[in-house]
């Protein structure tokens, strides 16, 4: 009788995931036994848990450990992205409590769901097997569908949840089909093995299974990162979802999508780079242009930021199209900066809006500049950073993304990118025009800055400004992260 051999499993790479999962389940249980009443303590515990996880993740910097027979890896690339997810989740948790309280949907499940999302995203970043990545994606997505529809008394939120779920599962189908085709073409789902097998093919670009699988996967991920023409869900979902979740969705899952995209395409399919970069070129140009042009016409600030989020996916795709060290490091840096600046901007939106998400139009910001100068100043910083004006992190990020493209010879893509940036300035400036240049009778007395939100704003502002002035502190890590992949 042969013994069934269980390979020695090194748990180190997924320690943060385990820790967060246990914490999330514990919070769920606590919530069950404490129905009703104040839920703020869950936010605090989650935040502390996220900080602890960040320390745990940070401790893994520099190591390279493969585990689970090569389907999960702990490397700098994964670590960097995990940090981005934790930043996004931490900020989202901080701005959630007072918002959920105001909207009357402060159900305790919110925080465990956020943590589960993070677990899914972390698996996406550290997975080196198509199955692991898919597993992570599903864990993330299912929690996100619920979060989008979390304000169940609100019709728009319900619509957002349902829409996200239907279109999300549809796109997952594409992705899974693509993965299946790649498995068919190569006989494996391990990224390194795919790379080896594709590398031995005489003419991989003529292998229909492989190319079709690659394109289908790209479609699936394009949906997840909200790239045009697969972006249709974004504005409605972003507008309908509770604002802190919109903020979270625009930063965290988008970064996770890019993590998986980068890992799959750069590790498994580098031989096909000529082919996929052509597709990405078109995708990037289209995404930037569609996002920015449609954002110009929006009045609801959540929709402005939603469309701008599409445009930002386009900027990141420029770096991905380049696919070189400069561009990919640019993506990492940009995703981190974007988490800070976009969640920061959404935090201000939350403060200015009133119960039931009224007061959410750009014109409702009129007069904020001199009535609440510090909030307006923070918003100005976030908006300038989003617009890519120095000395904010958003500028440095875009600089590296576009430089990657220029280095690779995609000059026109970079030109399209900067022209898009210039167009985007208009709608970001428009918000500032209302804040500073227009008078209003509003006194913004309802704007109450709670301690967690203030902390979130401070973190977001520091994360937007400091890397803009001394970018090396982040960039060197981003470059180490993409180097070892």
């Amino acid at each position: 009788m042969d013994m069934i051999l269980i390979p020695a499993v090194n748990m180190t790479p997924i320690l943060p995931e385990i820790f967060l999962s246990v914490l999330a389940m514990a919070l769920l249980l606590i919530n069950v036994f404490n129905p009703g009443g104040q839920k703020s303590y869950l936010a605090y515990v989650s935040f502390i848990g996220i900080v602890a996880t960040a320390i745990l993740v940070g401790a893994g910097w520099g190591s390279h450990i493969e585990s689970f027979s090569g389907s999960v890896v702990l490397d700098n690339f994964a670590t960097f992205f995990k940090m981005i997810f934790l930043v996004a989740a931490g900020l989202a948790v901080l701005i959630s409590d007072s918002y959920m309280e105001r909207e009357g949907c402060n159900h305790g499940e919110l925080y465990p769901l956020i943590l589960f999302t993070v677990v899914g995203m972390m698996l996406m970043a550290s997975g080196t097997d198509l199955m692991t990545i898919f597993l992570g994606l599903e864990v993330m997505s299912i929690a996100l569908y619920v979060l989008a529809g979390f304000n169940r008394a609100n019709k728009k939120s319900n619509e957002a949840g349902l829409k996200y779920f239907l279109l999300g599962s549809f796109s997952t189908g594409f992705m899974l089909y693509g993965m299946a085709l790649i498995y068919g073409a190569t006989g494996t789902t391990r990224l390194y093995k795919i790379a080896a097998i594709v590398g031995q093919m005489t003419l991989p670009s003529a292998n229909i299974l492989l190319v079709a699988g690659m394109l289908l996967m790209m479609t699936g991920f394009a949906f997840k990162v909200a790239a045009a023409p697969f972006h249709m869900w974004t504005p409605d979902v972003y507008e309908g979802a509770p604002t802190p979740m919109t903020a979270f969705m625009s930063a965290g899952p988008k970064a996770a999508g890019f993590a998986a995209l980068l890992r799959i395409f750069l590790v498994a399919l580098p031989t096909l780079q000529v082919e996929w970069s052509q597709v990405l070129w078109v995708l990037a140009a289209l995404t930037m242009t569609v996002g920015n042009i449609t954002a110009l016409r929006q009045d609801n600030i959540k929709r402005v930021l939603a469309y701008s989020s599409i445009a930002h996916a386009g900027y990141a795709l420029v770096g991905f199209t380049a696919g070189n060290g400069t561009g990919t490091a640019g993506i990492l840096f940009y995703m981190l900066s974007y988490a800070f600046m976009n969640i920061g901007a959404f935090a201000i939106v939350i403060l200015v809006s009133k119960k039931g998400e009224t007061n959410g139009n750009v014109s409702d910001f009129a007069g904020l500049g001199f009535k609440r100068p510090i909030l307006a100043l923070a918003m100005t910083l976030f908006l300038f950073s989003l617009a890519g004006v120095p000395p904010a992190a958003g500028f440095i990020g875009k600089f590296y993304l576009f430089s990657g493209a220029i280095q690779k010879g995609y000059i026109w893509l970079a030109v399209i990118g900067v022209l898009n940036s210039a167009a985007s300035v208009y709608y970001y400036l428009r918000i500032m025009v209302y804040m500073y240049f227009k008078e209003s009778t509003e006194d913004f007395a309802w704007v109450q800055l709670t301690a967690p939100v203030a902390l979130a704003l401070i973190i977001a502002a520091a994360g937007t400004l400091i890397p803009g002035i001394v970018p090396s502190i982040i960039l060197q890590y981003a470059q180490m992260a993409v180097k070892l992949m």
Binding site: G325, L429, V433, Y436, F437, K438, L475
Partner: protein
Amino acid sequence: MSNVLSLTTFLPILGVLLLLFIPKDSKGVLRNVTLAVTVVTFLVSLIMLAGFQTNAEFQFVENVPWIAAGPFIMRYNIGIDGISIWLVILTTFIMPIAVLSTFTAVEEKVKEYMICLLLLETGMLGAFISLDLFLFYIFWEVMLIPMYFMIGIWGGKNKIYAAVKFFIYTMVGSLLMLVALVFLYFKGMEAGIHDFGLIQFYNLKLDMATQIWLFLAFAFAFAIKVPMFPLHTWLPDAHTEAPTAGSVILAAVLLKMGTYGYVRFAIPLFPEAAHKFAPLIATLAVIGIIYAALVAMVQEDVKKLVAYSSVAHLGFVMLGVFAFNTEGITGGMLQMLNHGISTGALFLIVGFIYERRHTRLITDFGGLSKQMPVFATIFMIVTFSSVGLPGTNGFVGEFLILLGAFESQLRWFTVVATSGVILSAVYMLWVFQRVMFGELDNPKNQKLLDLNGREIAIMVPLVVMIFVMGLYPKPFIDKMDPAIKKLVAQARITPANAQMMPAVNQMQMPGAPQGQMPAGHQGGGEMPTGHPGMENSSPQTSPAVNPHNAK
């Protein structure tokens, strides 16, 4: 004192930090502190001027690592030469005047206004002193933000349109420049350059096609800022809507960013392309001179008239700079300073009467000289300076520009541009006549007060400078001369590329085939191959370098 340049640049930022601790209601304190900060900055910059050696080198250089990531290395690399030092001094000189002009003009949001002014000063100074292309870009962009808010918050009734237009126009140009900058960097990397340091790029040899694209990108960004026809449309809007101090700074310093950009970056980095496009740029400059003068003539709003006169004056600067000879560029540089002083002064004058009457329409005035003699005298002096009357600063600059341009390949452009001098006299003297002379028939004008002590104090330094630079421009020219000579040498096209120039080609017709013949050929055999080309280029360059021989 090794950090004196950084000190000058960042003193205003220290001032901002100081202002943050002053309550917003103590307007007097805010104003005086800001004034003190700008005056101290000016004094520090004077120390620098005193220590400046008259040579072509960059001085007060500070060069420390800043960003090092990936393919890029950016350094905090600053320094000034004979060209930039005067623009730095102009900036620090204008700032206290601009601040002083706001003492009664700005009553609301004083603290924010002062912070904007100081941030703007640091941005402008930073752009003039940057020797690192990336650092220059950062300052160039940062400058936009305070100006945007100054127009948008304290501007006139169409302020939002003007502010957004100003921002987006400049942004479009500068982003294309950014692409060019990165492209240039990668070109430099191939040649062994490893950071954004400007000076090493001067020696980088680029092929013509690359130069053309890069020059176009840089030139476009700078042309918007100058502004050159037909990209000038943001300027009248911005000027008309901006508060007085904003207009003064915009005219006196910000517009110089564009022309400075050509002198420091576009021309020496891409000399062959600059030569190729010189006729085009001269055409646009001349159109700008004539067109803006004609438009200025029919303006009803004094401020708009001055704004259009700026477009015309900057057209002259461009013409001088693209003459590529010492006279032309010296004239261009002087005219940049002159325009800063005289147009700055004109905007202040418009501000004075606007504060009194809250109108800027020419028809609302008339006969003011009877009521306001001091004002009339100062206005007259400034008008003469703007027109370029001999004895005032405007004359020296314009004369040198026309002289230089006439002796360059831009001769016929110069002939047309000269009529712009007459046109400027027409519109300036006409507006002066309509505002100051005639019957004092409007009852509202009969009670106008003449300039008070503070207003005279604002104008005196400008008037003094008008005469100093008009009567004795030598110290200014001497300090900038070596740097300009160096620029002229950099802008001189090398023989290899000279063949691409149709104008030069014609002049070289007899000699050119010789140089290209095989070495064994009779006649060409005695000379080294490169030599004939160099000799051939001398007829083109020598009158440009030393036109005095021709007289």
